[in-house]
């Protein structure tokens, strides 16, 4: 009977992200990485400035600071939220990382707790190839260069997209 159970698991068909990592715990970890980044940043915000946030250090003149990063051009992308009547636009170049983006999206849509782990909403984005990706997997720099538009999706809808935190993709990968 057990054997049958294992067998069934292997053959169970599930939709999932192509090349998605093995088992459920690494899926969870991926998600955790996104939000824990945000959590860490939240803590930092609460406790005050970190060492490398001293005003005027390193001594790079403000004009140069604003104009010599790869993101110094504006990068407005559309943001839709499921259930909201109209779309918004956000300038990705204005933010230095995922946590800042998370806060900005929260403010934009008046939704709270998106940066928390068990949030109702999941941020996804459409990349240059037209694929819908989960926000947070790639380094920030890479993300802003490939992001064409953002969507804030209900977690329940995400199940349909295969972005579920639990469930085994092993079978799917082996089957491919």
């Amino acid at each position: 009977m057990e054997k049958e159970g294992i067998g069934l698991e292997i053959t169970e068909l599930r939709l999932g992200l192509p090349g998605g990592g093995g088992d459920s715990s690494s899926e969870k970890n991926k998600k955790k990485r996104v939000f824990s980044e945000i959590e860490d940043a939240t803590d930092d915000r609460k406790t005050g400035e970190r060492k490398n946030q001293v005003v005027g250090w390193p001594p790079v003149c403000s004009y140069r600071k604003k104009n010599s990063s790869i993101t110094s051009s504006k990068m407005y992308v559309k943001v839709s939220m499921d259930g909201a009547p109209f779309l918004r636009k956000i300038d990705l170049a204005m933010h230095k990382g995922y946590s800042e983006l998370g806060f900005a999206l929260e403010e934009l849509f008046g939704c709270h707790g998106m940066t928390a782990e068990k949030c109702e909403q999941v941020p996804i984005y459409e990349d240059k190839d037209g694929d819908w990706m989960l926000v947070g997997d790639v380094p920030w720099q890479m993300f802003i260069e490939s992001c064409k538009r953002l969507r804030i999706m209900k977690r329940s809808d995400a199940k349909g997209f295969g972005l579920q935190p639990k469930g085994s993709l092993k079978g799917f990968i082996q089957g491919v």
Partner: protein, 571 residues
């Protein structure tokens, strides 16, 4: 010399050009003072509040070229709150009223309103050259006035200014009759440029030697412009984004072959790294290369480019070049005199620069005399080696990203390393320190840095002794700027006469109290001692025991200034 007629002395004075030499001439005797002042055409004023414009005009009736500097240097790093001062309007107004035959105006860290540019453009018929560096408040409307009204404009050079774009086509305001442009730099403008207008302007400017474009000028326009201006010596590329497999790019590659006069290259404000190959053909002629605003070029592409630049004397680059890349620079650029390496945000630690890159440079580039180096770490051993290899430093500025980091190999402060630099480089005029530093480094500076004129200190030292070593020892000190150091009242007040021999002193987040500043201000009437009080409660009394957050003092003949904002208390 007393028996020579004035005309002969005047003629001799024509050959004396530098400000310092001219100043020296004027001190020799009354008749030399008189002759000098009547023949001086260029004046440099390092602090616009040190003297009134009226007094300047009175002394130098033949004034044609004026350089003015406004805000203190640390304003660059957001340490000076908005509205501090440095307004150029009163100067332009006074010059206009005094019917000065102004031809050139160079401003740095000043507040330049559109009204001042408008007045400037109308009041001086021979006006030829405007250079604005790190200025603010003007918009493209002000530029339009300059373009439209300055009939013999030769130079419009805008460097690193914050300019508001008001649409309105300022470039179109250059009349068709304007054919005298020699230098046009609008790289810092954020708005769109009418490319057709630009091309026609370039086409009718046969003397154009220097052209620096902004981001809105695309690569295809660059190609057409270069075809019209093969005589260019200095080029700032705007946008450099293109698919190298296109005809446009091939055209550009061919055009570059005709640009053999270009010796200075900068810009690439947005760039497709693979397209840099088009520049290889002019690289062998380059003496100056500034890629410090060209974000996103991988180190490997920078290295490939630099291998072609054997004649380089000045290089400004981002730390994405890495230590390895600096090794390539050291092997290739044997004529290198000035190097600036700037930090890029988005770089993994393995690609950033450390002491190794600097040591490599010092070994390969013996002519190096000016350095600005942002790095992740530095060691005493490296600094000692650099000091030995390059005894000719005039400017040595080191900025370790972690400001109080000790030598990572020995865990010691960097006192010995900087000590070696000042001891070896007898001609050192400018020094910026960083890393973990005790009072000892200041003892070395006071002992050895005899030619030092400008010193920048941050997060360093242990006691008042540190500052006193410097004030005591550095006889030629002109500018001292200190932030976040434990220097207090004793250091400030021990040698107050010193400050009249200097241009200015900046101290922020130190241990100086209001009371000490008051004492200083009272004893030295020819100093303006300004304290910035940024608390919201503007009417709160300044108590003597209170620590001063920011203090800026400077010598002046103009007395207390009348344009200071509310948060500035001139004691």
């Amino acid at each position: 010399m007393n028996y020579f007629p004035d005309e002969v002395i005047e003629h001799i004075f024509e050959y004396v050009v530098s400000h310092r030499d001219r100043n020296a001439l004027s001190l020799v005797c009354k008749s030399w003072y008189r002759i000098e002042r009547c023949t001086r055409e260029k004046v440099f004023i390092g602090n616009c509040y040190s003297i009134t414009p009226e007094r300047l005009i009175q002394r130098f009736p033949a004034l044609k070229s004026l350089t003015l500097k406004g805000k203190p240097h640390f304003a660059d790093f957001s340490l000076v709150p908005h509205g501090w001062g440095g307004f150029v309007y009163p100067w332009i107004e006074a010059l206009a009223k005094g019917k000065v035959g102004l031809e050139e105006l160079r401003l740095k860290r000043m507040v330049v309103s559109d009204d001042s540019l408008e007045l400037l453009s109308r009041a001086f018929p021979n006006f030829r050259s405007l250079v604005l560096v790190s200025c603010e408040e003007f918009t493209t409307d002000g530029l339009a006035a300059i373009a439209a009204n300055c009939k013999s404009l030769r130079e419009l050079d805008l460097q690193e200014n914050e300019v508001d774009d008001h649409k309105g086509q300022w470039l179109s305001c250059f009349p068709d009759s304007c054919t005298s442009l020699v230098s046009l730099n609008f790289a810092c403008l954020k708005g769109e440029i009418n490319v057709g207008v630009l091309e026609r302007l370039v086409a009718r400017s046969p003397n154009l030697k220097s052209l620096r474009l902004n981001r809105s000028v695309p690569l295809d326009a660059l190609q057409r412009i270069l075809t019209r201006a093969p005589q260019l010596v200095d080029l700032g590329v705007g946008s450099y984004v293109q698919d190298p497999a296109t005809e446009t790019f091939v055209k550009l590659m061919n055009t570059m072959h005709k640009c053999k006069s270009i010796t200075s290259l900068s810009g690439f404000l947005e760039v497709t790294p693979r397209c840099l190959t088009a520049m290889y053909v002019i690289c062998p002629n380059l003496t100056s290369l500034n890629l410090s605003y060209a974000a996103g070029i991988p180190g490997s592409d920078l290295i490939k480019l630099i291998r072609h630049c054997k004649k380089l004397q000045r290089l400004w680059i981002m730390d994405s070049i890495g230590d390895k890349g600096l090794g390539v620079v050291a092997n290739t650029c044997k004529e290198l005199q000035e190097l600036r390496v700037f930090p890029s945000d988005n770089i993994g630690h393995h690609a950033a620069v450390t002491e190794k890159g600097l040591v490599a440079i010092s070994m390969g580039c013996p002519k190096l005399h000016s350095l600005l180096y942002f790095c992740h770490q530095m060691t005493n051993a490296a600094l000692i080696t650099v000091a030995k290899n390059c005894p000719n430093f005039i400017r040595f500025r080191l900025a370790i990203l972690d400001a109080t980091k000790p030598d990572p190999d020995t865990n010691q402060p960097l006192d010995e390393g900087f000590g070696a630099i000042v001891q070896s480089c007898r001609r050192l005029r400018r020094l910026s320190l960083s890393g973990q530093l005790t009072d000892k480094v200041f003892l070395y500076i006071g002992m050895y840095a005899e030619q030092l004129e400008m010193l920048s200190i941050a997060f360093a030292g242990e006691s008042d002794k540190g500052m006193l070593y410097v004030l005591n020892g550095c006889k030629k000190l002109r500018k001292l700027e200190i932030r976040d150091c434990p220097f207090g009242d004793t250091a400030l007040l021990t040698d107050i006469g010193k400050y009249e021999t200097m241009r200015s002193l900046w101290m922020s987040s130190c241990e100086v109290t209001v009371g000490a500043c008051k004492v200083l201000a009272k004893k030295m009437p020819r100093l303006n001692v300004e304290i910035f009080n940024e608390n919201e409660t503007a009417d709160c009394e300044l108590e003597d025991e209170q620590k001063v957050e920011k203090m800026y003092l400077y010598r002046t003949l103009a007395g207390k200034r009348k344009d200071a904002p509310e948060y500035v208390w001139t004691l």
